[in-house]
Amino acid sequence: MEALIAITIGALTTGGVFLMLQRRTFPVVLGLSLLSYAVNIFIFISGRIALNAPPIIGMGPAPIDPLPQALVLTAIVISFGMTAVILMLALGSFLHRGDDSADGGGP
């Protein structure tokens, strides 16, 4: 379980960083999304991994820490909003210049 989650986070981060380094804006946006997925899982497991453990005291043998779940909800909402903003900016920049390179340079 630990290995699976660690590999998932690592793969998402690698893909995200690779896409962030591209010249076109669309891969950059996708890379940011992948990075935010990676960090969301990372926050979620910062309260330790446990199966079938409810986040409420008294509903199971050992409750799981509920705070990371609240933190990850906040992080998801924020990254969702930020992705929308950067997509609008990328679209606006593309429509203004007819070119979607992120550095704004020539060909």
Binding site: M20, V39, F42, I43, R48, I78, M82, L89, R97
Partner: protein
């Protein structure tokens, strides 16, 4: 009852921004709300300054006890930054209203208020995750302000700015999750109590999260080598907005001071002098990059951006010592350099509006009100460079005194940086005001007395800062002592006792 004044600087702009969005069709209502909001924030900041001088005041959101709920704490450092934000917002708002910048897009005032809400919240909060949330609030407002008025160049620079800051936010979340996984808390005072008790095998993770956090704050504060976004973004943003953004780099410095004294103090075995060593190097190189950037900039607005990088270099170089006199000097210099950078950006806007551009290589037409503007530019440049009689000089003397233990390296870099910056500003001033193409007709431009009054107000603030340098430095010395011994900041939250 009076405790609610702690959260009022966050609630007031948030409520006003919401109302302004509802009445987006009425520019008069928006302007009225903006003026009311800015004056309310200034009054609140003054009240909070007097309150904070008596000691830290906590505000428990929803009356949840710390560390289970979010706590805001008003202490001297927060109150100082709140006052700086409120004063700067008032001046920038007066300038914006006088020049009509707010009419170039529909949502200037709500975004401006959300920006202030984010700044005030970030300066007040005592919870690391809440700090992240307020960072995002002010950033998303700054994205909107940055592209206010539109245009291809602004959108492109805005895209880079947003992408870079989103990357910074992701790193922030990685750092926070690591800290939470180690310690099980995100309350900064609780962290200050728990991190020294962590087993030695967690030391590597603590160091990792400390460096990740420093990277995030370095992005915000435009520290070398993470400064590349700043000159281009600030130059592309509307100049009055860039004047407000001058305080955003100081948010990076604030976060470094807060975390470096409270959560990762030099007495914490896991981190020790780690932050100090990194900041020392980043500060020295930052001063050099800023100085040569000022010398080589092709336009006025990026030139001011490089001057900000240089002044942040001075601030973090001073902070890196993590002693009480150094922190006091760094705070004085940070306040001063915010005012100086804002003055320069407002002046850049008056120059661009009258000259048709800020290209230093090309001779422009003679400017309307050119004599007045050149005099003001002289004063602002003197302040930014750090020459007498303005507060930059007083600030740099304090910085040099505080760094006297490292005099050979620190003094020579700061003084040489000052010299190079001075030459750069002299070059920019002569290119703007003396290389005039007389064949071009002088473009007509209204005088806009309120816009000039706003610039005068900033210069007057810097004059006052140097006239009353002794009482201000005395107040800041107590602030720095409180920061170095944060027991009062921790005790006021009445946290549960930690078993060793």
């Amino acid at each position: 009852m009076s405790a609610h004044f702690v959260i009022a600087p966050v609630i007031l702009p948030a409520a006003l921004a919401g109302l302004m969005v509802l009445f987006a069709r009425s520019p008069a209502f928006q302007r009225l709300g903006a003026v009311l909001g800015a004056s309310g924030l200034i009054a609140l900041a003054l009240y909070n300054l007097t309150q904070a001088s008596l000691g830290p005041t906590p505000y428990f959101l929803g009356n949840w006890p710390a560390p289970f709920g979010i706590v805001l704490v008003l202490d001297r450092l927060s109150a100082l930054m709140l006052a700086l934000v409120a004063g700067l917002a008032g001046v920038v708002l007066a300038y914006v209203l006088a020049t009509g910048w707010d009419r170039r897009g529909a949502y200037f005032h709500p975004l401006f208020m959300f920006q202030l809400m984010g700044l005030n919240g970030a300066f007040l909060t005592a919870d690391a995750f809440n700090l992240f949330v307020f960072f995002e609030v002010l950033l998303i407002a700054s994205y909107g302000l940055m592209v206010h008025g539109g245009g291809a160049e602004r959108l492109r620079a805005g895209l880079q700015y947003v992408a870079f800051n989103l990357l910074g936010s992701t790193v922030f979340l990685f750092a926070l999750a690591t800290i939470y996984a180690i310690s099980g808390t995100l309350n900064m005072a609780d962290l200050a109590q728990k991190l020294p008790l962590m087993p030695p095998e967690d030391a590597a993770l603590i160091r990792l999260s400390a460096v990740l956090l420093l990277v995030v704050f370095a992005v915000k504060g435009a520290l070398v080598p993470l400064q590349f976004w700043l000159p281009r973004s600030y130059a592309a943003a509307p100049a009055p907005v860039a004047a407000l953004f001058a305080v955003m780099t100081k948010l990076g410095a604030y976060a470094m001071i807060r975390f470096g004294t409270l959560v990762f103090p030099t007495t914490l075995a896991a981190t020790g002098a780690l932050w100090g060593n990194i900041l020392w190097a980043a500060g020295l190189v930052g001063i050099a990059v800023g100085a040569f950037g000022v010398l080589g900039a092709a336009r006025l607005a990026p030139l001011i951006g490089f001057a900000i990088i240089g002044s942040m270099g001075v601030v973090v170089l001073t902070v890196s010592a993590f002693t009480a006199p150094a922190l006091a000097a760094a705070l004085y210099y940070a306040v001063h350099s915010t005012l100086a950078a804002a003055t320069l950006f407002l002046l850049a806007d008056t120059i661009i509006a009258r000259r048709g551009g800020d290209d230093l290589a090309q001779a422009g037409p003679k400017m309307a009100q050119g004599g007045l503007i050149s005099g003001l530019f002289m004063a602002a440049a003197v302040a930014m460079v750090g020459l007498p009689p303005l507060s930059g000089f007083v600030g740099k003397v304090q910085v040099l005194q505080a760094l006297s233990a490292h005099a050979p390296v620190a003094w020579s870099v700061i003084l040489l940086g000052t010299l190079v910056t001075m030459i750069g500003f002299a070059r920019a001033g002569s290119a703007l005001f003396w290389r005039v193409d007389t064949a071009l007709s002088v473009p007509k431009h209204p005088a806009q007395p309120i816009a000039f009054a706003a610039i005068f107000a900033l210069i007057a603030a810097m004059v006052a800062l140097s006239l009353f340098a002794a009482p201000v430095a005395g107040w800041l010395a107590v602030t720095a002592d409180d920061l170095m011994a944060p027991q009062a900041y921790i005790n006021v939250q009445s946290l549960p006792a930690v078993a060793p």
